[in-house]
Symmetry: C2
Subunit: 331 residues, 2 copies
Amino acid sequence: MALFGWNREAERVKASTVGGVDLGGTKIAAAVVGPDDSILGSSRRPTPTKGGPAHVAIAVAETMREAAVAAGVGTADLGGVGVGFPGSVDRATGIASRAGNLPDWGGDFELGSFLEAEFGTKVRLGNDVQVGTMAEYRLGAGSGFDSVLGVFWGTGVGGGLILGGSPWLGRGRAGEIGHTLVRRGGARGPNGLRGTVEAYAGRKAMEVKARKEVAKGRKTILFDLMKEKEKASLTSSVWAKAWRKEDELARDLLNRAVVALSAGIGSAVNLLDPEVVVIGGGLGVRFADTLVPKVIEGTGKFLLEPENPPVMAVASLGDDGGVLGASLLVR
Amino acid sequence: MALFGWNREAERVKASTVGGVDLGGTKIAAAVVGPDDSILGSSRRPTPTKGGPAHVAIAVAETMREAAVAAGVGTADLGGVGVGFPGSVDRATGIASRAGNLPDWGGDFELGSFLEAEFGTKVRLGNDVQVGTMAEYRLGAGSGFDSVLGVFWGTGVGGGLILGGSPWLGRGRAGEIGHTLVRRGGARGPNGLRGTVEAYAGRKAMEVKARKEVAKGRKTILFDLMKEKEKASLTSSVWAKAWRKEDELARDLLNRAVVALSAGIGSAVNLLDPEVVVIGGGLGVRFADTLVPKVIEGTGKFLLEPENPPVMAVASLGDDGGVLGASLLVR
């Protein structure tokens, strides 16, 4: 009886040790997460910049396997693996599509079934931003609140919604605060929409703008830092270092991003009136003490009731929010 | 037994015959509504333009009493009276506050208890736009859908949300699509916020702009029509007549309003991804066949997925949506 009880407990613990993958436009992060939501092992690598969905999917599988090795388990021993994907997902079929920030991933790819075969355990997909918002709601800066607007400032600008304690997905694509308007007819974003939050504040759009300014003859250390750090693009850490070194172009573009974020968050708060706004993402985490307070202060200017703002907080799970949120998909 | 049964049935019918009041910035409409949601008697009068909350509350009471007379009942015979209020309401206390489009109603007024004493039956308050959205969801163009964005284009531009079959109120003030941004740093709206949907499309803001243009020497028949119709302001019917008569200033301002509405609705759809958008309000109803189709067409330009728009429809209850929605507050 004692042994039987022990086995059942071991089974329960095994089932509740799961994997989480955060598939981003710049990096893939994977972790093995214990039953108490602690990270038992992790791994990360850059997201392939070419090769299409299959190439990216193989990199996802390898990153997860490395995390499993670090945790001393096999992927088949995991109760499941959740994957946060930067595009649309069909939870029922495991098909992942329309990821503008991944190489050649405009169409559909059966990511779920591919990874289930690789891992030997069940795989569940979620939108990366919705997954990150759920992590902050359950384990981070949004815990204890009933309604959360999550804003993820990184390669793009994503948003996730928890309303009345449940994720609000709309017809599957809700939360796109990055594609709300700031300035009609303004800057063109990566997907062609003009004047959106992302067209000013997304890291991808900011890099395009920085390259244009350099082509016009403007000086910046941004691209020197990129080469120094052996990066293929202007990562969050490159922007953070350029900010610290008071690079004028970096400061101008980041300040422009701050105003766009404030305006977009203000509009969203007027529409949804949430209890808390949580700001995360690669840039959000790195600028938690410098620019995010400016975003929060700036939001007041766009509120219908500036005297009654929601709580506004930095994502408290930092870079781990993505993998922890993904792991919740298989709990 | 038969008599007893008849009495119980009479009680049931009486209880389910209720009153609904739509208190707007321009007019007060009241109706007695039967158990099958049919209007048994109605009345309307202009909203007082001065005198403060008490004066407006007396006008509300008189309008409701006239509707009761028209229906052949006394207000005390009604199962209750619901009131749609153009500002904030506290449902528990019956306090109505912050109605920017009512005269001197910036503070609190105990509208609920005042009207209960006047009517001799229970009174429940709701925000006018939320009430109108509920009416379209339960009885109109939004019926059969699970998520509705209601857009009410009138004195201001209000919005109401039904998400997952329930009203979404946030911390009490959700739905303010009129105060989402269209153009940062753009036109100043009645409440001081710049570049919002309402600053371009609200009838109040449009009238201010029209007066400025006239002061600059621009010609228009708008104010002649206003005098002809013996109105104190540019009502929806004045705007509609000026449009039909191809008044250039009216056309310019209405076309500007259409673009602002399209942009604001586009942003809101990107954020919330609802199944249906219902467009109503005084101007929405009067321009159902002319400008609302342009709003719907224009929204596509601001959508993240223009190939996958929500259903977009004109409010089907027309001017009755306000009183019918208010009556649902006491069902």
